[in-house]
Symmetry: C2
Subunit: 405 residues, 2 copies
């Protein structure tokens, strides 16, 4: 008897058979008395095909037209999904992002949500329809289609859940929940039944790619309770909400490993005010996010500045920094041979001794820490890439996260 928004990603609706399977699942939930809104992505592969065709026309396609092109992928899926439901005797109607009232700014290919009304979704639900909404897309004030960038369909689902005040937003994906660590790295990782936005946010920004940080942030801002779960089974997933009653009094909820970072070192920097600002501003202008930052004052009034960027941004960052370094007279060096390993937990706020446990665990195997950052609910370190998996297992055990078996 709940109002539920469900989001299915590209793999879950990858072909006609999978679309039918999802439709059956939806119909089952409607038959139990729930009102369902479904947000879907393009079938897996479709978006890449569209991009390839655009790139074959021109290496730098116009972004407004790119959005028009990309929006086709989701429009196909909503129509097919609505047909599948109708063919099972379940009333269903499809809605584009624009029809669902998802208004964005005009930053084509990475638009930001400005307003979300839900359009006539509630009305259609009252009439007994399942409403199928195209994820990833919105509309700007000129009436042009926009797209929300990576992870956009998750964001659409959460925004729509907020607009209609849904009881829960279920994010169906190819993982079946949030784990205390990546099970491919830590064999004893367990599924977390309930986690807070803040914890998931830190896990996500530390490389647990269950969801883009942006969607988690949006959910937290509007208090949307969501669940990450698998579209290939009926197991409960991980519910994400504001505060989690600490049943097990666990200090740490999970360990995250991010191997997609590059360490950048600027050495022999003049130790003057404004130098760091100049460097980070020029990176920021290019849209490059800087993660961990460490600065040391070296000999002779020269400083070393070290930070990490995403591997994808590394070559762009290097190019920008080479220009800046010429002006500042410093040296630039990059290495991709690092990993960021983090422990995350709301419990850390009220527990002392976390840092002690953390570094003692790493010391066990003589793992050398290159950089450290901390927040209220996180400790993160940069270490040698080769040490990452060992470190994750050590930390998982040290914080009592290992499962019983």
């Amino acid at each position: 008897m709940a109002l539920i928004v469900q989001k299915y990603g590209g793999t879950s609706v990858g072909d006609v058979e999978r679309i039918k399977n999802v439709a059956r699942r939806i119909k089952g939930m409607v038959d139990e008395g729930n009102r369902i809104v479904v947000v879907v992505s393009a079938r897996s592969g479709v978006t890449n095909d569209l991009i390839a065709r655009a790139k074959a026309i021109t290496p730098n396609p116009d972004e407004r037209e790119m959005d028009r092109l990309l929006a086709c992928g989701e429009q196909e899926t909503i129509a097919l999904m609505a047909m599948a439901l109708e063919s099972m005797g379940q009333k269903a109607v499809s809605r584009t992002g624009a029809q669902a009232g998802l208004f964005t700014d005009s930053l084509h290919t990475k638009a930001r949500i400005v307003k979300i009304t839900g359009g006539d979704i509630l009305e259609k639900l009252d009439e007994g329809y399942v409403v199928i909404v195209a994820g990833f897309q919105g509309v700007n004030e000129l009436g042009e289609v926009t797209t929300l960038g990576r992870g956009g369909s998750d964001l659409s689902a959460i925004a729509i859940a907020a607009s209609i005040n849904a009881d829960i937003c279920q994010i169906y994906t190819d993982v079946d929940g949030v784990y205390t660590a990546d099970p491919r790295i830590v064999k004893k990782a367990r599924k977390i039944p309930v986690i807070s936005y803040d914890e998931l946010f830190e896990m996500a920004s530390s490389g647990s790619k269950v969801m883009q940080a942006r969607s988690v942030e949006f959910a937290r801002k509007y208090g949307v309770v969501f669940e990450v779960r698998s579209s290939f089974n009926n197991e409960p997933g991980t519910i994400v909400k504001l505060e989690v009653p600490s049943l097990e009094s666990l200090v740490v909820s999970g360990v995250a490993v991010d191997k997609n970072q590059t360490k950048v070192t600027l050495s022999e920097l003049p130790d003057q005010p404004g130098v760091a600002a100049e460097i980070f501003e020029s990176l920021g202008k290019a849209g490059i996010m800087v993660d961990m930052i460490v600065q040391n004052i070296g000999r002779g009034g020269k400083a070393n500045l070290t930070f990490t960027v995403a591997k994808d941004d590394a070559s762009k960052a290097e190019q920008i920094l080479n220009e800046v370094s010429g002006k500042l007279g410093c040296k630039v060096s990059l290495t991709g041979d690092i990993a960021k390993v983090s422990v995350v937990g709301i419990g850390m706020r009220s527990h002392s001794g976390v840092a002690g446990t953390f570094f003692k665990a790493l010391a066990k195997e003589n793992i050398n820490v290159q950089m450290i950052t901390t927040s209220e609910i996180k400790i993160a370190v940069a270490i040698d890439l080769a040490d990452a998996d060992v470190a994750a297992n050590l930390l998982h055990e040290a914080f009592g996260l290992d499962g019983d078996k």
Copy 2:
């Protein structure tokens, strides 16, 4: 220095290279000082793929969702075409049917145009843009995407040309104009430089499938001058307009052959008022168009009724007629072994002797005529399928249409 609407079909925009070729052609015409609106179809094959996917979901897809699905094909093409032009330094912007103000009724998959405003097309042309419009699609009063059915992109182009009062609407296709006869049947067929709507209309409804009769009718109603020409060369095509000054004082403009007809005979019909009406009403309700009709009164007050329907409709027609015949006590027989051969020409209005020339030509080769219909500008006969090509050649020669070489 003209305002031109150009329509490119699925073959002309079939792949990335062809899209680029069309873009180059458009840019060339803009560089000559013309203002260009382009209406495009889906890439050839795309619409069929979408239909196949829908049919794999359910044999009877919901028609509203079918329209949503089919509209994706054109949306892809408009985006790619706009990108291609932009990449050549030509400002271009894409518009959906809805954005171009093409309003239709709600007969999904075969919607009829109710109103066409052109949206902001003229404004964008004034700003120096080429405007690319998705053919085949419109929007109903609920804001739902609709599609116009077969030949819909031609109709879109003509409707848009009407709405912005374009100087000409060029229909680019894989034939290079309208011929005096099908060149595959009549070797001496020639391209017709100028033809009237009425003549093309009769040619089209007689099986010359250059354009759907519906589009020609729309053009005539709103006085849109259009040209049928090839997208693969730069030859002038055939211009279609209201009145054609008869430069060559030709009585007949062309010969059309339609091999896609089935002859239906109802024999031993009671010769009572209302019998024919009952038969044609039941066919009409099923959307079956009846073409040639002949009725004879036979012996004993029984009548024979013979007419033709499109081959595609034959089995549906047979089913309906078997029901009706049971009630009326008549016999139903069908044969697909016929062809309709027509001569068409505005000049026939003011010339006598056309029928004489016509039947004398057929008599030359002892071709037996099974049915005859005439209009002000057309004589059509149903003959044996095997005689069709010979008849077309005889008529082409008899009416002086054979080329010089």
